[in-house]
């Protein structure tokens, strides 16, 4: 995390209402102002994550997402615009974010996370928000975050449910502790209402803000689970796997 940028008068005007949050203040805002976040994909989950990070005043958001916008993305990918169907998702996301908050730097990488780019992309970030629909990408992000000692918030949803796992490498259970293999029965196509994605996304964004600023109580070593069908929320105590191939030897 860079420490150079002081809050400006414009910052204080834009973020005035959150500067009033007890335990946040100028110090919390300055931390976010000097934070670079990498968001893996900007769809139903990653899009609302990006929007909340931009609203909160993160210094820079790097978005990694390949492909062009399709009609059937529009029930949940709230950074997109109907007129952008057929164009690159990442560019549509950048236009929306830059229009919403032009004081946040947005870099787009029109690629999904792969073994070829994961190391370099994670190296550019202070915190990673993982929101890809495939475990291959999520486990790759997790591996790089543990290796580079970067904070990770992994958010996921299915149907009316969501789960969020914040990871502090070496201190809390990592994604590979829970999922030591690519789950063979997970399918790329999943049932989704956009509001459920956005709910999971915003819980994830808030967990990231807490990890960075010390606000509230971060839920490292806990999974936050919700069922929006019943509006039952719970936190589940997680355990590190001492045999974990990714974080097992880190203390």
């Amino acid at each position: 995390m860079s420490s150079g940028k002081e809050l400006t008068d414009l910052d204080r005007s834009i973020y005035e209402w959150q500067l009033d949050v007890p335990g946040f203040g100028d110090e919390g805002q300055a931390k976010l102002r000097n934070t670079t976040a990498l968001v893996s994909r900007c769809g139903g989950l990653g899009g609302p994550i990006c929007l909340s990070l931009a609203a909160a005043g993160f210094g820079k958001i790097i978005i990694a997402h390949a492909g062009d916008l399709r009609l059937d993305d529009l029930n949940r990918q709230i950074l997109m615009r109907h007129e952008d169907v057929g164009s690159a998702r990442s560019e549509s996301a950048k236009r929306t974010l830059s229009s919403f908050n032009p004081h946040v730097e947005v870099e787009v990488v029109p690629e999904n996370i792969t073994e070829d780019n994961a190391e370099a992309l994670v190296a550019k970030a202070d915190i990673v928000f993982s929101a890809a629909p495939l475990f291959e990408e999520r486990l790759l992000m997790n591996q790089e975050c543990v290796r580079q000692n970067k904070l990770l918030v992994d958010s996921a949803m299915y149907n009316l449910e969501g789960r969020i796992i914040p990871v502090i490498p070496g201190d809390s259970a990592c994604l590979a502790c829970l999922y030591p293999e690519i789950p063979p029965r997970w399918k790329r196509r999943f049932p989704v209402i956009g509001a459920v994605s956005a709910l999971a996304a915003n819980i994830g964004a808030m967990e990231g803000i807490k990890l960075l600023t010390g606000l509230g109580t971060a839920n490292a070593n806990r999974m936050i689970y919700f069922d929006s069908g019943t509006m039952r929320f719970q936190t589940i105590q997680l355990k590190r796997n001492s045999e974990c191939k990714v974080c097992g030897k880190r203390s």
């Binding site: 139903g44 890809a132 449910e161 029965r185 999943f190 994605s197 589940i236």
Partner: protein
């Protein structure tokens, strides 16, 4: 006999058509015996999500006892005193 509430998430909830159910188990039952009983009751699609071809709980299936994740040799864990078992198959939707 003991009664335990089974909470379903993800695809398991879709197959069973319920968020939870209460099952009766013999005293001294383990996680393995619970899973075996549930797979018999709910059929092959349910079982395929939960266990591999050898009948072992898939590594990516989370078994949560009274809000605490289990790890290691999960099948051998005894359920004495446990009130709720949450079975969580992996999700990655976005």
């Amino acid at each position: 006999m003991m009664e335990i509430t089974i909470q379903y998430t993800g695809q398991l909830a879709g197959i069973t058509g319920a968020g939870e159910e209460v099952v009766e188990l013999a005293d001294g039952s383990s996680v393995a015996s619970l899973v075996s009983q549930l797979c018999t009751k709910h059929g092959s699609q349910y079982a395929d999500l939960l266990v591999n071809s050898e009948g072992e709980i898939r590594p990516s299936t989370l078994v949560i006892l009274d809000g605490v994740q289990t790890e290691g040799e999960r099948s051998e864990i005894l359920l004495e005193g446990v009130r709720a078992v949450m079975l969580m198959t992996p999700i990655a939707g976005g």
